[in-house]
Amino acid sequence: MASGNTQQQAGILPAGTPAPEFTLHSTPDQTVSLAELRGRPFVLAFYPADWSPVCGDEMALFNAVLPDIEELGARMIGVSVDGVWCHAAFARARNLHFPLLADFEPKGEVARRFGVYREHDGVTERALFVVDDAGSIAWSYLSPIGVNPGADGVLRALESLRGTGGSETAAQRSAPPAAERGQASEARS
């Protein structure tokens, strides 16, 4: 919709960067932090505003794709600068089944850390991140603000996380040889 200022920030955090720390309210009395999310991949969808038409469509789409995201072992999280009460009303109206975080005070601080805040507009970019189970950004994408980016990129990124194996798989792979040798203590120096 409102394309307006097409100036995009150069600074969206790329794959391979550790996800910046954050703790944001998901409801008036609950917060979600990066530390709590460790151990499972998650999708972080920044969107400009709760009630604008494209955002509604984008969140409705991710809501419908949620079973597939969860099947890939991941969580889904939305973020905008709207406050918790606004998020609550929006989530209820749209029947959303995943948390919306309020990057509300200081406004846009977490979006800035991820490199996706639009200073002149006072809203976040429309951007997607897939963060792996160890808290590192595995994939990121900056969409034109008026365009719903769809969910195929997110699903591909989550699949390739599975394919290459997260730290869990790596740990499983290294475990059997150590057990066979039966000399775990020796391996440790």
Binding site: G56, D57, E58, A60, L61, N63, A64, V65, D68, R94, N95, L96, H97, L128, Y141, S143, V147, N148, P149, G150, A151, D152, G153, L155
Partner: protein, 180 residues
Amino acid sequence: MSDGILVPPVDDGRDHVQGPASAPVTLVEYGDYQCPYCGTAYPIVKELQRSLGDQLRFVYRNFPLRDAHPYAEHAAEAAESADAQGSFWEMHDALFENQEQLDDRSLIGFATELGLDAEQVARDLDDGTWAGRVREDFRSGVRSGVNGTPTFFINGVRYDEGWNDPQRFLQALRATAGAA
């Protein structure tokens, strides 16, 4: 975001198809029976079919946004159930022509009006017989970069120039037909 390429390609054995397999242009729609934009697109597609005749093969795939449109899922399943009785397109048309009344009772009513075994349609809705089929369509749409409804693909490539400009849409299809 996506490459905008239809995955999987049209399969005459599985997809709902109108028009000859030999047509130079295949138009695929991902739609939601409760979506008002799809309702607007419905007569536009009909007009395109009239204009292009045997030049056009039209395919419909399901993309219900269930939480946004509470009746869309069952409407899609009712069309699949009608398909099992050989009447997919009759039900597809009835749904788009009656978008304001898509509750289960109405769906079963359409089946009766179309001369189908309405009790079978009711059982299919209760049992979710066609839910998996609808979900397969939905997933293929997500993979193909469908980000809302309706989304159209012309010979497997997403058409982003605006379906709501019928003249332009027709020109795009004609150009593809000419090039094929």
